[in-house]
């Protein structure tokens, strides 16, 4: 019976061949668990799309209503709290594992020739996912959404030359208004997800073209010199993607999904009070992944210096990250053979953690 169905498809589109081709991708053998984070991100993104689409059954992108629509979804819709919770904790998980995936790629030097394009496509994904997180935070329509929109559009206004215009375009006027919410909605729900949906296959296509690099330990037996580009295309041993690597991928996916699910059920998504522009003692808070950036904003006082924290430092940081494969052109892959890159990477991660921790502390006492 199954054989017959299979034959029917094979006669027409060679389905079995196609599936074999897809599943047979060769993955370096030794570091399998370390290579699971990319698939994990693809999985988490799928979960975001699935939950996001159904949040739209209730959500209203209109400033005076958005928060109450979300509240209704959470408290009066069967399992709405879980759906919303998965979308929130899933987003946090994505941002966290983006950093993990990037770190693993960074420390194994997998962005080097011939794999520069994987990194660049990855950076597009990273930027877009972070903005997805920020815009999601704004869509709730609670107090933090309101002030985050105001603060971030004001940050944009410090961009040299075009800043003032940028703020007006993003807000849809000089004020944060219903149009602002409408724009953010379109960006969060249509524009950015479509970019992600286009770039994940591109990312994967590039990887299939060059083969997976994996870590330096995959090349211990290679006789070629580190400078030989061919060395990094032929790991000592490989396994097929399906089922060997997929088996590990899905175990990690389940573990992370389990944690996300538990957090969704136990903590859910905090909705918070309706936005009140008149509030006298409200202290806005950024989401955790933005705290490091937030902390930067404190160190550059006065007219001339603000542009450092709002524009120059973040932009320069981004440009360096984007162009990393073209800046770091050495051929060494092992983190021990390129100590400068390794130490810089570790220092950068430590700085990020440090800024995030102090960024999370209250800055000015709300009362006293």
């Amino acid at each position: 019976m199954f054989q017959k169905i299979q034959n029917w498809f094979d006669e027409r589109i060679e389905l079995t061949e196609l599936i074999k081709e897809f599943n047979g991708e060769r993955i370096p053998r030794r570091g399998g668990w370390v290579y699971t984070f990319g698939s994990l991100l693809a999985f988490l993104f799928t979960v975001q799309v699935a939950t996001g689409i159904f949040l739209l059954f209730y959500y209203v992108p209109y400033f005076p209503m958005a928060r109450n629509a979300t509240y209704y979804l959470k408290h009066h819709v069967l399992f709405g709290n879980i759906l919303l919770g998965i979308h929130l904790w899933g987003a946090f998980a994505m941002i966290f594992f983006l950093l993990v995936h990037m770190s693993r790629v960074y420390f194994s030097g997998a962005y080097k020739k011939p794999r520069e394009l994987q990194w660049v496509a990855g950076m597009v994904l990273f930027s877009v996912v972070v903005v997805l997180g920020l815009t999601g935070y704004m869509l709730i329509g609670n107090e933090n959404s309101w002030w985050t929109i105001n603060v971030l559009t004001n940050v944009a206004s410090h961009t040299p030359v075009v800043g003032g215009f940028l703020r007006i375009i993003v807000r849809g006027g000089t004020e944060t208004s219903v149009l602002t919410m409408q724009h953010i909605f379109a960006v969060h729900v249509w524009l950015l997800p479509i970019i992600v949906i286009m770039f994940i296959p591109m990312h994967l296509l590039f990887i299939r073209k060059t083969g997976h690099q994996g870590m330096a330990l995959e090349y211990k037996n290679s006789k070629l010199s580190d400078d030989d580009i061919n060395k990094w295309k032929h790991p000592d041993a490989t396994v097929p993607f399906f089922p060997d690597q997929f088996y590990k991928d899905i175990i990690i996916a389940l573990a992370v999904f389990g944690v996300v699910y538990i957090l969704a059920v136990v903590y859910g998504a905090a909705i918070g009070p309706m936005y009140r522009p008149l509030a006298l003692n409200f202290a806005p808070e950024a989401d955790w992944y933005f705290l490091a950036n937030e902390e930067l904003l404190k160190y550059f006082p006065g007219h001339g210096l603000i542009v450092f924290s709002t524009f120059l430092i973040p932009t320069i940081g981004f440009v360096i990250l984007f162009a990393l494969p073209f800046i770091d052109r050495g051929h060494e892959r092992s983190p021990f053979k390129r100590p400068a890159a390794t130490v810089l990477g570790i220092l950068f991660l430590l700085l990020l953690v440090y800024l995030t921790l102090i960024g999370g502390e209250p800055k000015a006492p709300a009362t006293v």
Partner: protein, 173 residues
Amino acid sequence: MTKSSEESPSRRTFMMVVIGLISVAIGVALAIPIMGEVLNPLFKRRDIVWSELGKVSDLENIEPLVPKFVPVYFRVKEGWTVNTLPRQVIVVKDIAGKLYFFSNQCTHLGCPLHWIPERQKFMCPCHGGMFNVLGEVVGGPPPRPLFAWVYKIENGAVLIQNKFLDNPKERGV
């Protein structure tokens, strides 16, 4: 029968040029209305209204150098809706009796200021900006003194406009 691109290199060039031109034409034709829509806010006039804050006689009675937060409500058109923008006006009377009408927006990135009586300062909860009672920066990252509302006094009432004095980049209220 026309030649295929494989038979004639010039035919190939011709087809590539046509493909390129058509793609550009379609792209530009689509980009024009899209850019128009996105940039539209730049060409819209802001709806400017006056709104009554209170009686001068009441406001003149506040204690000197003790800020008073008074809400004001602007009824303005925003896109296709008419909305009420509630905003705080910080009314301050100096020792000479002059009244000031400040916005409670921090001039750094716009967070809502808290008045801390013990320190006689406005503190910003976001990045630690500080202003004295007359709106001057006394600490933290804010680049300029507090924004002052455009106001006028008519028939004994203070009217506030949804607009700041000295606001070159048109920061929203």
